[in-house]
């Protein structure tokens, strides 16, 4: 395989590093027109899926041999089936869609499923266990370096909820005179997560354990109220913006517990639900007014 890219959370970055051929996440421009994608995708698909599918149809991804999707995000896994169908009936061409079946239920059968899927991808990428072990070591080194770098940052307003499609929400916070924290969607997907066990007898199993336990995606079984407060406190955030676009389906279920946790922790917060996924609905003014109020 020449170059491949990925779409979705809970990716096996150690395996990708071992392959030496990963081009990162597929990119998008959410403000662009997506006339073809709009004919195929229904309204609850987020804007990034439309941009990606339009690029696929336009041939903009033809330089890739494959794109790896995961089941750890509903939009990503559904997009996989759409792309497969459109390729099968000749409507679009482009890279081969591959599915990495991340199973999050936490039982032995889920871990076994994830291991089997990872082994299939490992074979497809032509990475043997020794190379994967080296990839784990190299990626763990990057993890350690990133952790040190993150300690130096001093963000004041944490943007949480649905990861924004790009930097635009953080730019709105910065425009209000605040520092901004909170990962965009591609940054979240590129997040290397916790260190993977090195020197195990089964490096695929070691990677799989991390992916199943990861709290990265919307299908993670975690306490999102306590997690949010812990994140805000670790960053020394003075304010939190909870932003959820209209297309969000998972994270809104945790809004009450998150609001309660933030209130209990005394963290000022702005809740923005059912918003335009591209931030074109006056959200910049609302964020500015909120932060001005907190500063006062």
């Amino acid at each position: 395989m020449t170059m491949f890219a990925y779409l979705g959370p809970d990716m096996p970055h150690d395996l990708f590093a071992a392959s030496g051929r990963c081009g990162g996440a597929v990119g998008w421009i959410i403000d662009r027109a997506t006339p073809d994608a709009d004919r195929w995708l229904e309204s609850k698909f987020p804007l990034w899926t439309r941009s990606v599918l339009q690029d696929w149809a336009d041939g903009a991804l033809d330089h890739l041999e494959a794109v790896v999707f995961t089941r750890a995000d509903d939009s990503a896994q559904r997009l996989y089936y759409y792309v497969c169908e459109l390729r099968a009936n000749g409507t679009i061409q482009g890279p081969e869609p591959l599915m990495l079946d991340i199973a999050k239920a936490g039982r032995a059968s889920s871990l076994a499923r994830t291991v089997a899927s990872l082994r299939a991808l490992q074979g497809r990428l032509g990475v043997d266990d020794a190379a994967l072990e080296a990839g784990i070591a190299a990626t763990n080194a990057v993890r350690a370096a990133q952790a040190a770098a993150m300690d130096e940052a001093a963000p004041l307003c944490l943007i949480a909820g649905t990861p924004a499609p790009d930097d635009r929400l953080r730019a709105m916070v910065r425009a209000a005179g605040w520092a901004a924290a909170g990962q965009s969607l591609t940054e979240l997907w590129a997040d290397l997560g916790q260190p993977v066990e090195q020197g195990s007898s089964d490096p695929v199993l070691a990677v799989a354990r991390n992916l199943v336990a990861s709290a990265q995606g919307p299908r993670a079984f975690v306490d999102r109220g306590a997690g949010l407060v812990a994140q805000a406190q670790a960053l020394k955030a003075r304010a939190v913006v909870l932003w959820l676009p209209e297309e969000e389906e998972a994270l809104g279920w945790h809004l009450p517990v998150q609001i309660a946790a933030l209130t209990l922790a005394g963290l000022p917060h702005l809740v923005l639900t059912r918003r335009d996924g591209a931030g074109r609905d006056g959200v910049d003014a609302e964020i500015a007014a909120f932060l001005q109020g907190v500063a006062a």
Partner: protein, 435 residues
């Protein structure tokens, strides 16, 4: 609920007209079942489970553990005209107004915590809640519901499906191991064994695989009758029964699948359908247009489906529930009842909402049933229910079947106006030259 609230929440839906004697019998049975279920669960305090429709109910039936199916419970709440009130409660508690409503009405009822208005005064604590993770939202709904009820959520995986056969429906009975992927089936069997262990430990009731084998054969008999009737309806002109009667006569026995009553009722339904076909009786007096309905049933307005029969001779002859009995339920057991059951459950949702299975089956069904036009439900707040509809609509149009897509929710009556929806279908049929 106050009188003013009742007035404000009053739905615009209309009752459907019934032609078959067995329809009333099915509804009466279900009503009696509800009373019996309430007695066992609420009054006798028997262990019970809350489960999604696409979970292995057969496990619970074999163990004689009562189940409350989330979709049935939602319909029950809706029928009591409480859905609007409970959805308002969710908003008051801080949930976004556009939260998926299809699977969350039971959670809303629990969170409302108002025994004075809740059906049955609210549910007691179940042994377990079970759902397959077919979307991003269900694990959060069931996880919070279990937490609110002080019990456990048993999440079942909905594994990715890489073997894509658009003709799955023609092979699913005998070749299920290939159609649904052996490894996916094996995973679901492992999960079912974990579930059985949990149930045995919590309830003291035992699972017997021989009983499951017998139940699977009885279900084959039951669904065989339904499938036979579905085949006959597809070929018959005029259509003997509208989907408003197909749905209860399929779904109610399916809630009790494999029981003596369910098998007998399915046979009775088939016989009454055949009698009407033999006598040339139609659902409408003058059938001119055969319509297909794609999506869940609009439970709050069953009269919608018959509204244009008299005016235009437009008859809804197809919805997924009845013809689904064949490809989704019939399974040659092959001496492996757990595997056969897993093959039934592991893709029950996927084939209805993802390409290539959804479009492959529905185009085939439209052709089989001589469909003139199709109406697709597009719930605005539910990606799972929306999924595959545009690709399927395009495939149907390419096959010569005009398609109308309507934005509405199957359980939320707030955005549904009977007259407006009927008018939309009327206009569509005229604009596309069908009427």
């Amino acid at each position: 609920m106050s009188a003013a609230e009742k007035t404000a929440a009053a739905p615009s839906g209309q009752r459907s007209r019934k032609l078959l004697a067995c329809t009333a019998e099915a509804n009466a049975y279900q009503k009696a079942f509800g009373i019996e279920l309430r007695r066992r669960v609420v009054e006798e305090g028997e262990p019970f489970a809350i489960v999604q429709a696409d979970t292995p109910h057969e496990i619970f039936h074999v163990m004689d553990i009562p189940i409350i199916t989330n979709q049935w419970w939602s319909a029950y709440i809706s029928a009591k005209q409480l859905s609007n009130r409970y959805f308002d409660v969710m908003v008051e508690k801080g949930y976004p107004k556009n939260s998926c409503k299809y699977c969350s009405l039971g959670l809303a009822c629990t969170l409302a915590n108002d025994p004075s208005t809740a059906p049955w005064g609210g549910l007691p604590t179940p042994t377990v809640l079970v759902a397959r993770m077919t979307c991003d939202c269900i694990q959060h709904v069931f996880g919070q519901w279990a937490q609110a009820m002080g019990t456990e959520f048993f999440a079942m995986e909905a594994p990715a499906w890489e073997h894509k056969d658009p003709q799955w429906f023609a092979k699913s009975r005998g070749d299920w191991e290939n159609v649904y992927d052996a490894d996916r089936i094996a995973m679901m069997v492992a999960e079912m064994r974990d579930l059985i262990t949990l149930l045995e430990n919590r309830t003291g009731r035992k699972f017997d695989e021989a009983k499951l084998h017998h139940l699977m054969e009885r279900i084959n008999e039951q669904e065989g009758y339904i499938w036979e009737a579905a085949q006959a309806i597809g070929n018959a002109r005029p259509c003997p029964v509208s989907i408003a009667e197909q749905m209860p006569n399929t779904m109610i026995p399916q809630w009790h699948r494999g029981s003596d009553w369910a098998v007998a009722h399915a046979k009775k339904f088939r016989d009454q359908v055949m009698e009407r076909i033999a006598s040339g009786a139609g659902a409408a007096a003058n059938e001119k247009i055969r319509l297909m309905w794609i999506g869940a049933g609009v439970w709050h307005d069953p009269g919608f489906y018959q509204a244009l029969e008299e005016k235009l001779g437009a008859v809804f002859v197809w919805s997924m529930y009845m013809p689904f009995a064949g490809p989704a339920y019939l399974r040659d057991v092959q001496g492996r009842p757990m595997d056969a059951l897993a093959s039934r459950v592991c893709s029950m949702n996927e084939v209805l909402h993802l390409p290539p299975w959804m479009n492959g089956w529905m185009v085939s069904e439209a052709e089989r049933c001589g469909i003139d036009a199709c109406v697709v439900l597009l719930p605005p707040d539910n990606r799972l229910s929306q999924s595959g509809t545009k690709i399927t609509a395009a495939a149907l149009e390419a096959a010569g079947v005009p398609v109308l897509m309507i934005d509405a929710d199957m359980v939320d009556a707030k955005n549904w106006d009977h007259a407006k929806m009927v008018g939309m279908v009327d206009s569509f049929l005229h604009q596309r030259g069908v009427a």
